[in-house]
Every structure is written in C-alpha cells, then in structure tokens.
C-alpha cells in the first residue's frame, strides 16, 4: 500500500517549488555540461529554459494520453496513468534536451503496459506508431533499460483508480443519504484525466487525489458529501490538512491548459538545434557510437576466444608433455 511504497519514499515531493527546483537544477546541469562552447550571453538563446521545457513536456503529456487513447487494443486507464507517471518521473532528473520526449514517451507507454500487465508484444505495440516501425521498436527497446534505470527501478505506481472504487463502496455503504452515487462517475473520470496532466500526482497520495475527484464530482453533480467527509470519514483533527490538500489538487487541476501549436512548433525547432546529439538516433555521433559499441563487443569476443584458444594450447602441451615422458618409447 501507498504509505510503505517506493512511490512515497522517493517520488512524492513536498510542494510545487520543490519540483520546480529540481527541474531547474536538471536544466542548468545540462547547460553546464553541453554549453561549454556557447558564450554565456547566448546560452539562453541557444538552450531551452526550464519553463520552455515544461511547455514541451505538457504538450507531450497530452500526446501520450492521445496515443494511449488511440491504442489498439484499447488500453486500460491504470496503464495510461502509470505511463504518465513514468514520463513525469523521468523528466524530473533528465533534461528534455538530453533525451527527446517523443522517444521517452513511447518507451514509458511500453514499460507501463508491461508493469500493469497489459500484455502486448513489441510488434503489436509498434503497429500503433506511424512511420518507420523497425526504427521505433529499436528506439523503444534501446531506451527501456535507460528508463528503468532513471526510475531507479521503482516501477510500482499507485494510481487513484482503486481508491476511487473504495470510496464509492464506502459512500454507498456509509452515506446512504446520497442517492445514486454512480452519477458521480463521469465527473470523477473527467477530473482524474485532468489531474494526470498536473504535478499533483508527484505531491499527493493517490487516495487524496481520489477524494478530491469524488468531492469535485459531488459539487458538479450538486450532491452533498460534506457530512460524509466531516462526520463519517475524518475526525476533527485531520480535517484541516485534508481540506487543504483537496483544495490544492482541485486548483491545480483547474489551471490545465494545453500549449498552443505555434509555441510548440517554435520550441521544437529550438530543441532540434540544442539537443544532445549523442542521444539522437538520426545523428552521426549516435550512429558512430553505436558502431563503436558493436565493434567493441566483437573485439572483446575476439579477445576472449584468443585467450581460450591459448589456454587450450597450453593445457594440451602440458598434458601431451606428461604423456610423452610416461610413454615407453620416450624412455
């Protein structure tokens, strides 16, 4: 459960500033590392800033969601949510300029499918991707291990869907004054959709998000759940904290707005110039590096075989030498 999970240990932050700080640090580290040849005053011009990165990531989060919605066979919601989680977590400590989001996006979805036991093979998976499928599957499989490593192998994600079910059961059982709780569901689903585009999943517990969604839905459907929350669910001392959390989640979900196409297009152009070419599968550097790695493997294999052959020869010599001295003809 969540209170003892790696999610709570490593991937829940105290507030939005915390996350922003981390992102700024990642951004500046990348610029420090790769901007040696760029004069200091041109750096802002050349590289993406943290906020620009955010805009791009928001765009790609939407892309991820749309990709999953169009996915054949239809993908269950927890899988989508897990993939989004991975995507967010990955870009906390990695810059957009280092790894292109469009590659990490599909890798996240692929890994999410595996972890959430939504069974698709890689060929089935890339059938959903437009363009060169072989290249896509190469990219996914190459990036999969990197992604897992960057997630620190904390692959279990607690999503708010089951807590929503639990709350619904609890409401149906203990809050009988509410008629037809099922009418809340469409609103809850809407709200959760939006929550996943915010950073609140990196700050709040899934059960809190579920509660916020339920309360939001109740206000939308003009249902009254206040008595249930204040009297049945919580004792007085915990109430202020929870109300604050719910308020915050709702306000965060309110200000989701998709970035405009023009902005995204210009940012992508900028990204193409400043991205780390070593991680671009189309670049010469990347190809060179891959080739080097392959050669190195070959070389290592060759060395290994050479050594084995040598050992064998030595062994033979030793054995034969002994047998010679033992044989009567040698005497």
């Amino acid at each position: 459960m969540f209170p003892m999970s790696s999610q709570k240990m490593y991937w829940i932050f105290s507030d939005e500033n915390d996350i922003t700080e981390l992102r700024e640090k990642t951004n500046s580290e990348f610029i420090e590392k790769h901007g040696v040849n760029v004069p200091r005053d041109q750096r802002e011009e050349h590289f993406l800033t943290t906020s620009e990165e955010r805009i791009l990531l928001k765009f790609y989060e939407l892309q991820l969601r749309d990709f999953c919605r169009r996915f054949v066979p239809p993908m269950p919601r927890p899988t989508v949510a897990t993939a989004l989680h991975y995507f967010k977590r990955f870009y906390l400590r990695n810059s957009v300029m280092d790894y292109h989001p469009k590659e990490i996006l599909v890798t996240c979805v692929y890994l999410g499918c595996k972890v959430e036991e939504f069974n698709v093979s890689i060929s089935q998976f890339v059938a959903n991707i437009k363009g060169d499928r072989e290249k896509a599957s190469d990219i996914i499989l190459n990036n999969e291990l990197l992604l897992m490593q960057q997630l620190n192998y904390n692959l279990t994600v607690h999503n708010p869907f089951r807590p929503v079910e639990g709350l619904m059961i609890d409401i149906k059982t203990r809050c009988t004054s509410l008629e037809n709780p099922e009418k809340l569901r469409p609103h809850i689903d809407d709200f959760l959709e939006r929550v996943f585009l915010t950073d609140s999943i990196l700050i709040y517990a899934p059960s809190q998000i579920a509660l916020a969604a339920t309360l939001h839905a109740a206000s939308r459907a003009a249902a009254n759940l206040d008595n249930y929350v204040t009297d049945t669910l919580f004792s007085r001392e915990h109430l202020p904290g929870i109300i604050e959390a719910v308020r915050k989640i709702r306000s965060m979900a309110k200000c989701v707005e998709p970035p405009t196409r023009e902005v995204v297009r210009s940012l992508e152009k900028k990204l193409d110039k400043c991205r780390n070419q070593a991680n671009n599968p189309d670049s010469e550097i990347y190809k060179q590096r891959m080739q080097d790695m392959l050669d190195e493997d070959d070389l290592r294999d060759n060395e290994k075989y050479a050594k084995i052959i040598q050992d064998q020869a030595e062994h033979d010599e030793k054995v034969l030498g002994v047998s010679k001295s033992l044989s009567p003809s040698a005497l």
Binding site: P3, S14, D18, E165, T173, S207
Partner: protein, 321 residues
C-alpha cells in the same frame, strides 16, 4: 550343473563355460548374451511367457531350479510389505496366523494360483497398513545396517587376531632358537655342571612359557568384551551435517501503516454491508481463488491509505541515480 541350458539360444554350460543364466520376476531363465540382445532397449517381453520385463530386474540365477529363484524373489517382495514383527501382535496365535497368511500368499503367487485375488489381498493389506509398513521398513533398515556393521567389526577383529597369532608364532620360533643357542653357548664355555645348566634353562623356559600363555588369554577376553562394547556402540546416529547458521528466523507480523482512517476488516465488511456494493465473483474467478471480498477489502484499504499524508511534513530523501 552341466545341464544348464539357455532356453532361447540352447547354449549349454558345457559348450560355453562362462555361461551365466539370469532370471527376472517371472522365473524364466535366459543367458546373459540373450538378455543383452533382447533387452537392448531396457525393457521387453519374456520370450516364454510374454510378460513385460525390465532389464534392470535381471539378476544371476543362484539356484538351479528357476522356480526356487522365483519363489525367493516373490518372498523378498512380499516381506518388504508384510514386515510386521512378533512384538506387533498381542498373542502368539495371531502372529502365527499372520505368518501363515504370508506363506499362503507366497505360495499362491509362486504357483500361479488365483493371482488376481491374491494381488488384491496384498493391495488391501498395503492400503490398510501403510503407516505400519513404513515404520517397520525404517526400523528394519536400521537393524540391517547395524547388523552389517557388527559383521564388519567382527571380521576386522578376526583378522587382527590372526595377525597377532602369526606374529606370536614367529616370535616363539625365534625365541626357541635363541634359547637353544644360549644353552649351547653356556654348555660350550661354562665350567659348571652340564646337567645343572640344562635344568636351569629348562625351568626358565617353562616359566616364560607360562607367562606367555597368560597374555593371549587376556587378549581374547578383551576381544570378546570388545564385541559387546561394540554392540552398544552401534546405537550411534548418522552424523548430522553441520550447517553454519545465523540467528534463527523469527516471524514478525508486517505492520501495515494506514496513515488514514482505519479501513474496515474482514468481519466489518460483511456486517457493515460493504460487500453488497461489489459485484460478486464469476465462477471462473472463484475457481482461481478470487472472491469479491478480497477486491472489496483492497479497494477500501487503498481508499483510506495515505489520506492523512501531508506533503510538506517530510521532504523526500535525496536519491542518487
């Protein structure tokens, strides 16, 4: 012995002195080379009675009459299961009846008298006395093992004794020669009376001989007691292999932190009516061991877990990647 003949290839002991006849459970003999030929694949049918046989069950015929061989084989098999001892019965009469029954079964099987009925009887007995058989078997095994060890020990002691005797004999011979030489020397060079010298020598030899006689007797008693001691010593157990062990494992219940309102437990779920709001499991799910109350409990637990979570309270631990 010379009329030993392989029923298949008609080779006789006379023509082939190294002929070895083998028998299997059915009691029909075959020579070694025929067995090799027929049972190349490990199993096959007996050429005489067509009973399917395994090659591994073939063994060298000990008795001339293969019927005896068969009987011995059956007896061995039957006694493996009918392994009760006299101590297991309350009266002698019962024990005798039991022995009688075993003999009947063996006779029946060896002479093919209602085999099916008899086999059924054996099965029945086996089923009824499963535990008893197993227990006696292990006891028997232990006893056999002990006996073997005893024999081994005795053999060893016998050998020792033999060696000792030979050594003593050699010693004795040497001693005699030495004594003779000493006597002759004495007679040659001494100026004392010859008869006197001979007498003293004879008396000393007598004395040493008596002494020597006492010693081996003492040794023999030691041997016989040694066997007795050995018998007590047989009760040793197989040495227990030593395993490096840390502190023993101690079960501790996993404490599930809830960090929220306490979710209902198994009982409350039924009594509180929570279960009514979950769809009941399908037969296929039930077969897999999933019941609706598991899903219900988990949903409720997850809904409550972490509700009191306060993000500003604890900064996440820094993580090195």
């Amino acid at each position: 012995m010379d009329d030993q003949i392989c029923p298949r290839c008609k080779t006789t002991k006379y023509r082939n002195p190294s002929l070895k006849l083998m028998v299997n459970v059915c009691g029909h003999a075959l020579c070694e080379s025929c067995v090799d030929l027929l049972f190349l694949k490990g199993s096959g049918a007996c050429p005489e009675c067509q009973i399917p046989l395994r090659r591994t069950n073939f063994r060298i015929q000990l008795f001339e009459d293969s019927m005896v061989e068969k009987e011995v084989d059956i007896r061995k098999r039957i006694l493996r299961d009918f392994n009760k001892k006299e101590e297991d019965f309350t009266t002698l009469r019962e024990y005798n009846d039991y022995l009688e029954e075993i003999e009947t079964i063996i006779y029946n099987l060896a002479n093919n008298i209602d085999v099916i009925e008899t086999n059924k009887r054996i099965e029945q007995y086996k089923k009824a006395n499963k535990e008893q058989i197993l227990k006696s078997k292990s006891k028997l095994g232990r006893e056999e093992y002990e006996l073997e060890e005893l024999l081994e020990l005795e053999k060893q002691q016998e050998e020792e004794r033999k060696l000792e005797l030979i050594k003593q004999e050699v010693e004795m011979k040497k001693k005699k020669i030495r004594e003779k030489e000493a006597l002759i020397d004495e007679l040659m060079f001494s100026e004392a009376d010859a008869a006197n010298i001979v007498e003293t020598f004879a008396s000393t030899i007598q004395a040493t001989r008596e002494e020597a006689k006492v010693v081996p007797v003492a040794k023999v008693t030691q041997f016989s007691t040694g066997i007795k001691f050995g018998r007590q010593g047989q009760q040793t157990f197989m040495p227990v292999p030593k395993v490096e062990e840390g502190p023993t494992y101690c079960y501790k219940r996993i404490e599930q932190e809830v960090e929220g309102p306490h979710p209902p437990g198994w009982q409350e779920m039924e009594s509180g009516g929570y279960i009514a709001h979950v769809r009941s499991e399908k037969p296929a799910e039930k077969a897999g061991g999933f019941k609706s109350n598991i899903a219900c409990l988990r949903a409720l637990q997850e809904a409550m877990a972490g509700l009191y979570h306060n993000p500003s309270q604890r900064p996440p631990e820094s993580m090195a990647i």
